[in-house]
Amino acid sequence: MATIVGAATALSASKSFDSRKLHLPSRGSLSVSERKGSFLVVRSDGSVVHKAHRAQKLITNAVATKADSSAASTAPKPGHELLLFEALREGLEEEMDRDPTVCVMGEDVGHYGGSYKVTKGLATKYGDLRVLDTPIAENSFTGMGIGAAMTGLRPIVEGMNMGFLLLAFNQISNNCGMLHYTSGGQFKIPIVIRGPGGVGRQLGAEHSQRLESYFQSIPGIQMVACSTPYNAKGLMKAAIRSENPVILFEHVLLYNLKERIPDEEYVCSLEEAEMVRPGEHVTILTYSRMRYHVMQAAKTLVNKGYDPEVIDIRSLKPFDLHTIGNSVKKTHRVLIVEECMRTGGIGASLTAAITENFNDYLDAPIICLSSQDVPTPYAGTLEEWTVVQPAQIVTAVEQLCQ
């Protein structure tokens, strides 16, 4: 179990790691069903549990599509390169191989392979019952997933766009989050609800929703947001293995990010934040696509002499207040950068949580940069300004560090 002393209680117990059983495979192979018992539980910052810290694999690139061109001439690296949507699929496929109760349902997920190709090829491999095309009724196929989960399956429900899951709100709030509790623990709902959301490229208001703010109050569910191919695969696998209902937020613009990920099996922790860039001057908390705007701003900030600490919070419900708290205690200044609307967003809750718990450590009020409280416009110029841009992040840090 990936724990550090005093960490937020992990909600789902993962199998313990035994390094003696781990055999590093040859470069080309992907470890899938063979190594059921032994796998790495890798902590969010890349280090391995129970051992002394290995060399840390930190994301220093602002955008992961930049290949490591300078190091191309050195010895071939372990691991394999893929795009984020492929990483999601790989995680999904590994779990479907490992556990026959894992199944997928959603619109066009079957032979079509999903609107963003996350389920491509799976229907051919597992059959069209296990990768099920549903008619267009989000509340009802989410309900179906809940019924299947209560009867022993582990369904993954795909919303073609997160915004469509607004139709499933009744099932998610009143049943998914509730039935384990109201049944006195008799029925569990190990369901994963996932899909792309966030502001894309001129998709219009209805296809640019950020649902994490609406769902965050629902008791009984967990929410995570992936941002790199590495954590996308790790969080997908963790979500599937979790006994609780998990909502996995993906972002429309991040599906084509490329990264080299390990060949050996790994699972990320659902409740942990990811340290993207350690620093001393200011804590910048972000998630999903805004991570990349933050890292871009970080480059500018470093040039200007600042040393920002960037944390991708990843776990939107519950917050990893341990990692966040340690950072606040170190830097004393907090900037939150999110894509949610200002009112009632994740940033609003995070601001409250930090103020309540770490007020004594703050040297300045928390600054939260969010999207405005407007539906996302179609026009490209307007859309660009409804999302937090790196320049605004730089200004905010300068303001904070005055």
């Binding site: 179906m144 019924g147 299947a148």
Partner: protein, 397 residues
């Protein structure tokens, strides 16, 4: 004439005549019935034979359900429980449908089907525990009365939301199909529930996915105060099945043998042919919607009384088992007295039992309580310790 063309969806024959399909049929869909109002088998009726043992158990359970309802209703009126909803008038639906299934068939109820749980062996004490929300309630005191749930009886916890269980049932049937189990799912809902979007999508899905689920509609004429004439304009619910490609039947909901036969047949078809079946049982909700309702405000008292006495499904079935020599009036009074006594005892025991401890407020939200809930529990306990006079003494810590 006779020209046929391929469109997406298959071949269609053409007609030069512009004819609209009427919105209402010339004749309503016929209703399957076995026993007449006097409990005699109708001459030409075909039905599934029941043994004396099954018939007597069915009848006893119907009486138990009736008695349980009246005792709990009285208890609510006396302020001993906060809420109750009776099943009066729908005892045949509850018991006969349950009797035609096996314990391996999964049940997704709405909230007017406690009889199914009763048939499966849920005890009067277990019912009382849930209604009183005490520490022995399987739901750990988290749901309102009558929101029963028991995984060992394959009866999925009642949720107050209308028709949300219908897609759940389809998902469960999908699960059974994947496991190739020789079992089906049954889900119940009222006439009002068929207006919800979940009902339509669930029927549609079940047909497309070819899963073994029985959709059982208790068309009792009322959704609280809304009569079916304000609920839909179709010929009831049975005609909606074919619209989704689901085989359907309309039965007399106050006829024990008709329901038993229909559900038995539906189960065979569902399992052997991997198909959904829709059963519309016509009946009447004799009781109020719940203890929060007074139905005399929106319907005539003599209508209610007529259905309560002249059309009582329990009395009707009794006439049949008596005619077979399987029951007599001594059995009757003995049973009713005994059940009533057991009920009163169960209520006493349930009332005296402790309520669930404070810790149960925070468990089962997740599989393991996360740190924020642990904090919240700690805070609550501290508050209770600091202000003991503000908290009820009978809540165990």
């Amino acid at each position: 004439q006779g020209i046929v063309l391929d469109f997406p969806g298959g071949k269609v024959a053409f007609t030069p005549e512009m004819r609209f399909i009427s919105e209402s049929p010339v004749e309503r869909v016929h209703c399957y019935r076995v026993l007449n109002d006097n409990g005699q088998v109708i001459m030409s009726s075909k039905f599934k034979q029941v043994s004396e043992e099954i018939a007597v158990k069915m009848y006893s359970d119907m009486v138990t359900l009736q008695t349980m309802d009246s005792v709990f209703y009285e208890a609510q009126r006396q302020g001993r429980i906060s809420f109750y909803a009776t099943t009066i008038g729908e005892e045949a639906i509850n018991i006969a449908s349950a009797a035609a299934l096996t314990i391996d068939d999964l049940v997704f109820p709405q909230y007017r089907e406690p009889g199914v749980l009763l048939w499966r062996g849920f005890s009067l004490q277990e019912f009382a525990n849930q209604c009183f929300g005490n520490k022995d309630d399987y739901g750990k005191g988290r749901q309102m009365p009558i929101h029963y749930g028991s995984n060992k009886h394959n009866y999925f916890t009642v949720a107050a939301t209308i028709a949300t269980q219908v897609p759940h049932a389809v998902g469960a049937a999908y699960s059974l199909k994947m496991d190739r189990k020789k079992a089906c799912v049954i889900t119940y809902f009222g006439d009002g529930g068929t207006s919800e979007g979940d009902f339509h999508a669930a029927l549609n899905f079940a047909a497309v996915m070819e899963v073994p689920v029985i959709f059982f509609c208790r068309n009792n004429g009322w959704a609280i105060s809304t009569p079916t004439s304000d609920q839909f304009r179709s010929d009831g619910v049975v005609v909606k099945g074919p619209a989704y490609g689901v085989r359907s039947i309309r039965v007399d909901g106050n006829d024990t043998l008709a329901i038993y036969t229909a559900v038995h047949a539906a189960r065979e078809m569902a399992i052997n042919e991997n198909r959904p079946i829709l059963i519309e049982a016509l009946t009447y909700r004799v009781g109020h919607h719940s203890t929060s309702d007074d139905s005399t405000k929106y319907r005539p008292v003599d209508e209610i009384e007529w259905w309560r006495s002249a059309r009582d499904p329990v009395a009707r079935f009794r006439k049949w088992i008596e005619s077979n020599g399987w029951w007599c009036s001594e059995n009757e009074s003995e049973l009713r007295t005994s059940v009533r006594k057991q009920m009163l005892h169960a209520i006493q025991v349930a009332e005296k039992a402790d309520k669930p401890p404070i810790g149960e407020l925070f468990t089962d939200v997740y599989n393991v309580p996360p740190s924020n809930l642990c904090e919240q529990e700690k805070f609550l306990r501290e508050t209770m310790k600091r202000h003991p006079q503000d908290y009820m003494p009978d809540v165990p810590v």
